[in-house]
Symmetry: C2
Subunit: 159 residues, 2 copies
């Protein structure tokens, strides 16, 4: 681990009863952040916050599928979805579904903004099918998990 990784706080808001919006700055150029988020071997290094992640599918194009399986002491958890829109370096729209709650699909819109000073701002808007789905995700500890993943991404970007 590289202890010099600069870590910015995330800002989480709820623009509507079915949405969660997260902003997070990373201390790296946009191209580097994009690579870390889209190359399977790099995704595997931070997505699971230290847990082993097997990237089973990652067909990064409109209509392509993705599936990641996380292996931890708490068990094995599969996550999957499909890409709706992919604009290199700028934007990915995809669905997200945890095997443990099949059918409870989340539509995620991720954008990367080049801040022009070597830093990159990520904005991720998650649209849930229902308000109950969103509240369930929040109750399940989504914010802490996300913070841990982004901290792991900071480390990867600083390496």
């Amino acid at each position: 681990m590289n202890n010099t990784a600069k870590k910015y706080p995330h800002v989480m808001t709820t623009p509507s009863e079915r949405e969660i919006r997260v902003e997070r700055i990373f201390n790296a150029k946009r191209e580097r952040v994009w690579q870390a988020m889209t190359k399977p071997e790099l995704v595997a290094k931070w997505w699971g916050r230290g847990n082993k992640v097997v990237v089973e599918r990652m067909e990064l194009e409109r209509g392509g599928h993705w599936r990641f399986v996380e292996h931890s002491e708490q068990g094995t958890h599969g996550f999957e979805g499909r890409y709706s829109e992919v604009v290199p370096q700028e934007r990915v729209v995809q669905t997200f579904e945890w095997d443990g709650m099949p059918g409870h699909v989340v539509l995620e819109t991720m954008t990367l903004e080049d801040l022009g000073d070597g830093r990159t701002k990520l904005v991720n808007v998650s649209l849930f099918m229902t308000a109950a789905d969103r509240d369930g995700m929040v109750s399940a500890g989504m914010e802490d998990g996300m913070a841990d993943s982004y901290a792991a991404l900071d480390q990867l970007l600083a390496a």
Copy 2:
């Protein structure tokens, strides 16, 4: 084709800006309707309204995936999703996604009610991620396509 198939009109309503609700009566016992909707070789006979349908996956259980491919003169269209809930003879909750609009997922809740007189009432509630998704589906001729599929199902049930 069996011309004696009894065909009931469907009733389509919009309970909210993101929903479409359809009621349709079938002139067959619930067990027969359930079989026609869940046995791949029977689904292939009515789902495509006369077009060839290849049932690539139909893992009818919570968490299982389905994928149907329809072949018509207008081309090849894939549809897929995942089962969220399966209660034999009574209820199926599943997602629905057309390859042509990846990420625009619909959550469908289908229930079958035994009317006690040899007929069965189907109620299908489709919940779209956005009102625009729902309006797009309506504009694309969803109601006519559905009516044709249910008419084909009438024929199958009468055979």
